[in-house]
Symmetry: C3
Subunit: 313 residues, 3 copies
């Protein structure tokens, strides 16, 4: 594996999960692998978990890291080919990506969907441009369409907490006051497909994710039906996909409650808005796995970085 851009780059999900959980037991086992290697972490958007867990994973592997809030600390980038750059952008991605490649061995990029320009978002313009022009491996720290480090941490968490071989997993849409990207939901769906999981997606009618992604996964519009006998319930808001990036539904009945959850485990990628997405009782109860998921972000990043480092040898 050279790049880690989407869940599709996981060549053997069971092996990765197994390896990551071994790594979790001995996080410093490969502390010499990354010696004298540097990861550049470029953030076009805010980050807490991704920033700290990726830095931590790099340190566990003996790597150094250089973190930049790209938008704030660097120069505004131009992505279009052939433009006359007489506007706000001071630097073209072609130069920026090649330049950063001179100073780092691996490049992490976070760049959220704009939710304004669907075509740009769907083309994964920012991360794909870095992949195209950088001469070093690129790590997706959440792009327009996908958040594969989160999805990998989610699989690890399910693996650790499942009580049967093939648990029932539900992805349940929740209301939210702001328009959020589809990346986490997309990657979780793909991960479930990869795992051949017993998996149902539930959301209000009209809130379908990109059908090219949900392709084949079961959709059940009745939340109650969907949640029946669930072992894991992953709750997440996303903005509308058809009426792209709009918030057309804030129906509070879709909030996750302890009552709806039953005996299932609760999952969310965080940050989460309490009593909007999920009620306090769930997050404060012992069925919540959100901190375990956050913890697994380190080991998801670490197994990915380990594989990227090995590909550099």
């Amino acid at each position: 594996m050279k790049h880690y851009l989407s869940v599709n780059d996981i060549d053997s999900v069971n092996e990765w999960v197994e390896d990551a959980l071994i790594l979790k037991k001995k996080p410093l086992a490969y502390k010499k692998l990354g010696k004298q290697k540097t990861i550049g972490l470029l953030f076009f958007n805010n980050s807490l978990r991704t920033r700290l867990s990726t830095q931590k994973a790099a340190m566990n592997l003996g790597m150094k890291f250089m973190t930049m809030n790209f938008g704030k600390d660097g120069w505004a980038l131009e992505f279009e080919d052939g433009t006359i750059m007489d506007k706000g952008s001071a630097e073209h991605i072609k130069e920026a990506a090649q330049v950063v490649s001179q100073y780092c061995d691996i490049l992490g990029i976070r760049a959220f969907a704009s939710l304004e320009n669907q075509e740009e978002d769907e083309s994964e313009m920012i991360i794909n441009s870095f992949r195209k022009y950088a001469s070093i491996p690129v790590l997706n720290m959440e792009s327009s369409l996908s958040h594969p480090l989160q999805a990998l941490a989610d699989i690890l968490t399910i693996e650790e907490y499942k009580k049967k071989t093939n648990p029932k997993i539900v992805l349940s849409w929740a209301p939210h006051p702001r328009a959020l990207p589809h990346a986490v939901a997309n990657s979780f769906v793909k991960a479930m497909q990869l795992k051949h999981a017993d998996f149902v997606i539930t959301h209000p009618e009209g809130y379908e994710l990109d059908p090219k992604i949900t392709n084949g996964s079961q959709i059940e519009y009745d939340q109650e039906k969907a949640l029946k006998n669930a072992d894991f319930v992953y709750v997440k808001n996303w903005s509308n996909y058809k009426d792209y990036g709009r918030v057309i539904n804030q129906d509070k009945n879709w909030m996750m409650t302890q009552k709806k959850l039953g005996d299932a485990k609760f999952m969310h990628c965080l940050p989460v808005r309490r009593n909007i997405v999920v009620e306090d009782a769930v997050l404060d109860g012992n069925q919540s796995l959100v901190i375990a998921q956050a913890n697994n972000r380190t080991f998801a990043a670490q197994i990915v970085l380990k594989k990227m480092l090995e590909s550099l040898l």
Copy 2:
């Protein structure tokens, strides 16, 4: 000691001072103690000395550090219990504190007083919330009410420069164009009480600090009287406590001058506004200890981190 939240957490001030001054002679003596340990430094406010000296102290102990401007790089936090999070805050402190605890071994927090909501400030809402929900030791890098790393550096500096066993120390209020928190003054007062110092506080009438803190310390409203025979004069502005957070006095006569200072040593935590808080002659003269204080910030942080690391063993 698990947390270092206030001067009260110093269990034996003389021992700490002695140990810190030994450490200052051999800053790298414990460079293996912090190996593979990480401190997360979360800044809700600006910082120069605290940021650099705490990072330096961590490095001297062999620790790694991850620094975040929390407000700018992360997510706006909610601190209230039971809120419906449909406003600006994207993440609750309950999650944030637990999440950060997954990636670090010690957590440093800087969060100034708002000077707007007295109740919130007095409850030390931010740092106490982190202490409550984090699962790792918390280091106070200046909270609403206290700045115990500064106070410890101040004691070290007095110890190094005193010429008699029990020098006279004066805390003298100074004017300032902006409303400043009480944290530095509070912690210095507490430190003087801890040291059973020959100590006087002087400020204009009406500028009393919280009486629960000055409790028992001598207050002298006549600056000239207070300064008589002083060995150390600590100058500091704070905003009004009773008329909470207001600037009700900018009387230039309270500025520290070389003439008023006499033969005493001058102290200030920095940053300091020249010719408002203190005249140039004092800062540029050889009675000023401000750089020595700044230097001791490293060793104050280092002795505290050393004790925190030892408590993790």
Copy 3:
């Protein structure tokens, strides 16, 4: 050498170039030299190349680094002597420079020309104030008047790519929508003088650089004539010097094209505005050395830091 403030601090250009190119072959050869040494990198302006390459150079030498966006993370600085600090500035350079010196062994400063206050810019107020008050060596990461790390990287690049002993080198002004500083052009001119290069500067009439700097270097207003038989063409915009900081010419005929370039190598310090400063064909062609220049920033910084570290022994 104590400080590295301008190209004038290069005591033997041929030796430095030779040493840097040896270092480039074995970047980790001196990884013990910087052990337990820390460089503080203070940015008053944005940075991509300088930030990452200087950090990388420090790491290659075994140093630690502490990076601060000074304006955003720290306190607004006052530079004037004797001011009554009752305005926006919270800290005087005298304290700031001395304080930072307590925590670091070497201090890197980036502070662009304001292009508004010519006197201030020409006095190199910010970096010279740091040099004056800091007690540690100061590294210029681009000041009002000069960018000597860039110039050194440029010389290294010419050395690597030249095909004759004394190639013809042209500095060619280019149009730009915004007013840019003179630092890069100034330092390149000085570097060419130091190398006794076959060197021509070309720009529209009225766009003369500071004559104290170009002093003795050939100026040719006819771009076509200047470019004739060029081996290296360094393209760069700068704002007007006489009508200080203004943009009085945006003549597109001064843009560099493949046709004008002929067989010469193309150089630029980046970031570069495509199809304004230079056409795509040049940057995308194989005569462009811009990425090689960016790469050499690491080794320019590394040879300078190596010499600074050696001066600390």
